[in-house]
Symmetry: D2
Subunit: 400 residues, 4 copies
């Protein structure tokens, strides 16, 4: 499938189905698995897998465009879909040609296995990175692993694991348990792929929140999970931190389209709503009121800034990934979208008026969903600090 076909498919699904389940799952506080079955039926789970491995090979810009369209139907579905793609996308952009032969020998089988799971078996992946109380401060990770004679044992507890009760595999960040603390070094942080259907994995269905209620971002407990050598991410210990540090596009940039999508649909809602309303006193459409026009303009300006920033970042991720230019664009877009989304939906409620806080109107959910973007990593403070340091030429370690 081409990008255009994929985007069209998504638009159709968003209108016909995603939006319906968005409302229902928000009310029932559950994962919209119906939407993910549709995603799989259209093979959308593999849009980031490179063409040579059987996927659609979309670039980041195209991916963000797709994410916007999903989010216009169901933001929780888009956020969950992005969690899957953070895992798949960061693997898809590995330049195999640039690897040393022994690296390639180690990494290629790992990639082939994962891509095959996604493309052929339509498996869904989830990241299990953050932990209760520590947020995204990776140096404080408590989940740990030990080597055994033929693999690893994993123990720990993860929070905010989106799709906790739906994903087929978790990508789990863990710290190596050093038996003797002889070394002054930071212990290795590694990722593992863990199949989700195991009796020693316990899900605490604690996700009952303001917005993005459909992401099912529960707590997950791993109790003495036995892992094979091939479950080690990229076949290498200590890979986690450097990987993440180099690629803010995925952990931070991935979300962008989700919250931009909420802004887009809330803006469309507002324009449609106003157009259909009458100003009874003036005997004209409500849209003829100057203050309404000015506020719609304010919303449009917020939206335009966010759009410009998101797609500027996406293009730079494709053209100069990892550069200062790309990273500045990512943090800019993350800050703008995170702060502007709730501001736009709040203006939308003010503009449309009191009736639109009723749950019968989707705007009520858009507002709650929009509040969550700024809380995702990198949070707004982190973005500001990053950009400030970057502009002032302060080169000390910038993230987390």
């Amino acid at each position: 499938m081409t990008y255009e076909q994929i985007k069209k498919n998504i638009k159709d699904l968003a209108k016909s189905s995603f939006s319906k389940w968005a409302k229902i799952c928000d009310q029932e506080n559950r994962f919209p698995h119906e939407n993910f079955e549709l995603i799989k039926s259209e093979n959308l789970q593999s849009i980031l897998v490179p063409k040579e491995f059987g996927g659609a090979g979309l670039n980041f810009y195209e991916y963000q465009q797709c994410l916007v369209e999903i989010a216009k139907g169901c933001a929780s579905t888009a956020a969950a879909f992005n969690m899957h793609n953070i895992v798949i996308g960061s693997l898809s952009t590995i330049n195999l040609e640039a690897l040393l032969p022994r690296e390639k020998k180690r990494i290629l089988p790992f990639l082939e296995n994962i891509f095959q799971l996604v493309v052929t078996q339509k498996k869904i992946f989830a990241a299990a990175t953050t932990e209760p109380g520590i947020g995204a401060r990776f140096s404080l990770v408590k989940t740990n692993y030990q080597r055994t004679h033929n693999g690893y044992i994993l123990n720990g507890k993860k929070s905010f694991v989106t799709m906790a009760n739906y994903a087929d595999y978790y990508l789990v960040l863990a710290k190596k348990l050093e038996l003797a603390a002889t070394s002054a070094q930071q212990p290795a942080l590694s990722y593992f792929l863990v199949a989700s259907k195991q009796k020693d994995i316990k899900i605490n269905e604690s996700w009952d929140v303001l917005g993005m209620r459909g992401t099912a971002s529960h707590e997950v407990e791993f109790n003495n999970i036995y892992l094979q050598p091939e479950d080690l991410f990229m076949g290498q210990e200590g890979f986690a931190l450097t990987k993440v540090m180099r690629e803010p596009q995925w952990v931070t940039g991935g979300y962008l389209g989700v919250y931009l999508g909420i802004m887009e649909i809330a803006f469309e809602f507002t324009c449609d709503y106003i157009k259909a309303r009458t100003d009874y006193q003036a005997g004209t459409g409500l849209g003829f009121q100057t203050l309404i026009q000015a506020r719609v303009a304010d919303m449009y300006l917020l939206l335009t800034n966010a759009r410009n920033a998101v797609f500027d970042a996406a293009k730079k991720i494709d053209s100069v990934p990892g550069s200062d230019e790309a990273n500045n664009a990512i943090y800019t877009a993350k800050y703008l979208v995170g702060e502007a989304a709730p501001e736009l939906t709040s203006l939308a409620v003010r503009t449309c008026g009191g009736s639109t806080i009723h749950k019968q109107y989707d705007l009520e959910r858009y507002h709650r969903d929009s509040m969550c973007g700024k809380l995702m990593p990198a949070v707004s403070d982190t973005c500001q600090i990053y950009l400030g340091k970057s502009m002032l030429g302060i080169t000390e370690m910038k993230i987390w």
Copy 2:
């Protein structure tokens, strides 16, 4: 009871009980009748009734202080309590000495009856003013009444009737149905007191909204309700509009304490939350982070502006009710509180971080409740227009 005792009682109730039921009723989407039983057990339903009629005779400033304290426990309870007091308070401030003998003869029995119902029988009153689709534009009211040989027949449908399933009486705004449209005049708008427990009153339990979920502001339908002459508000037809027009303190000013209370408690929540948290990287309290301090300051500044404006308005309502000075202060306070409350809770969520969107934290509810203030009449646009005109000396009719 003195004002100080009343305020202390309320503070105790807010901490011990109101806040508990606030959480439960938000989840169950129902009216916190438990809180109202406590209100009645402490005789708080009569705090605005003049002392000579058996009440506590609080002035507006004292009343707003009490409302803040209730709202810190349960904003929905405070909003409902205010609806009762809009009815009672506007009657309590009538200056009987200033009436002509024949006015006094008409009005006094009406007042005595109502105050007796509140003081002795602990009856609760609710306003039924707005209607579906027309908001607060009184000239468009469709609910109507006709005179019969010994009373009136009332028909119509009201929206946003807070305490629809709890109040003992509704104060219903209705337009006189002119049988022959001979007159070019606007038909009379009158208020009626309607006992709520009647089979021809139908409640449509439609209140399922973003915030202030406990107010039970359902739709109420009145089908051929027969009323006695003594049910006519103040014993006089056509009283409605002038009354309301002259007294923005009740319809607009009443709410002020509710949303200020939400700001107060959300600010307390934030300070307490931050004080209890550690910045693991720095090894200090989270509150030592400069950006946290600056944001707490931003919240404090919003709160201080709101406090100053609300209590300035309250004092002017007591000292120069109905004056331009008082009215400007009311619209100023309404705008500031309405806009600042969601801004403050939004900053609180950003400051406390992602965990606080969990429903286990009250802040999640504070944010949703805070969104509703600006949607109450006078809405923010109306306030701005009023103040702009007032400052520019434009004397054309200013409200609604």
Copy 3:
């Protein structure tokens, strides 16, 4: 010369000369004619003239990039340069191939004459459009012309005529004086080219203002100025309004680069200033203060939004001129730049501290210059109204 050479030349001039005269002319409240002599020495006055007529044929995007670079040296010079290019640019983009033969016959000589004046004789043009008391409301124009047997007589008074004492020609907007008001029609609005060195043109050197002091935007009085038929703009009466209405890119879009340039240089100033300062208490660079970093980030975000909007508009003006898409982008960029420029310089002053209000620092001038963008047409209110109507599908006449 290629675009790259032109841009490099401008950058060099801005650093070496423009900035020096910017300071001097701001203090002396006079036109920086030194900068214009340099502009002419580099043939920059003809960068918009099509290549086939001897110019550099830059497109709008390239032009705005150049304008930014000039403004970084001297904003007044850039604004004046833009006034010249509003005249030249709107002529340069006429598609001669699309004209009817008789139109071409009329227009081509007019264009050839003007382009020759610019390219060969290095003449500078100025627009004389607005009038005292009416701003940019063209329907109220009082300057008038009458036909004579072999030409026209022009009378009137223009305000805000940038380069009033420097330009070689004025492009004057005037209303046809109908001797008998028989027609219900709006009288024709036409433009005329008027040579500036005439004894019956009086300049009132009234330009003594907050910022952009170097533009010399004085009042100019035209007393019985005799004009030839070839002085009529495009050889056609009544051409003015339609032309302008269809081309907001020039009257509104032209300014964009000027105010973006002020933002760019004020931001550079701030970063350089902070980098060179020490926080004596902490013993580190001032830039290590978190609040400084956050505020620099705020400035960077304002700047990024403005940059994105300006160059997005410029690209759309080149690719789809006159389209709704292009026009929305122009009004978006105008609003953002106009409002953001003083916001950014105000933050810069706060960030750099009290010393930078001293006139020895260029930031002091940047702030004053930046205040003026929002006051240029289309003013911020007009932009908001335009965008609001556009989004709400309100198709009534949108401008002025």
Copy 4:
């Protein structure tokens, strides 16, 4: 004179004279000594001197009211007048009854001398505290003094010395020059009263700035100035820091009325200007435009918040000076006024339109003057940090 008489006198002077010299001295970049001669002719220089010492004994609230009125005429005059009153006011509020007999014996003669100079000889005092490069960080003060056998020798350079070329006395902050650095202690910081007309005092007339141009806040150099024991402030070394630390009302709170006054007059200007203008298209007053009304309301809201905060602080300074409550109110008011003043004047320029950047309109100066408030100590960042810490219960040293 009573407070009411004083306030009325000031109002009259502001209208009739202060405003005229404000314009002239802004243009000529010089101190408005004409205004100070009027101040002295009305004995206003002694309004803060206690009644028992011959002054008017105004309290802080009354003083701030007077300052507002002066600033409405000439903000530079008000700022300079406040510098004088910072010196006099901090002495006027000393509670002599609370002193130990030996303290009283030391302090009373000092006070009697100063008050006599102010009341009888109409002397004007200026503070010389800050220094080039160090701002208000007192620990870094370089100006120094040594004891001689019968007095002191003072050397150093001060910046931002308001009224440098007008005041009769400077109050100079200096650090004791320890000949042998034996002590780990911070050397004593002391204040001295220095007569201004001495040949070894050199004024560098460097004050050429954006706004508040009339304050003549030049650099002053003190070269081997010989001082008598009675010139030591309060007759005690080391008095400086503790004094200042305990009294933010003077160093920070003093300014409040100045910038509030600018806000008041800029708001009046705007309302008057709009009232006098016509919307030619609509054929009504410009004030009938909804966006104008909304923006005037925004300005009014900024003004009201500032008014409330300033007078709340003033009342608390009078009733509970030095308390946390009073100090929080001071920093709140300082932040609000400092940030809101330029925001209000910027809105005023946008609302009134481009003509009002002409120097013929006072609004042009109001805007420039208003930019300076946030740069005065405590600067906005300091205010935010202070309030944030205060709210979070962080008790480490809060200022400077």
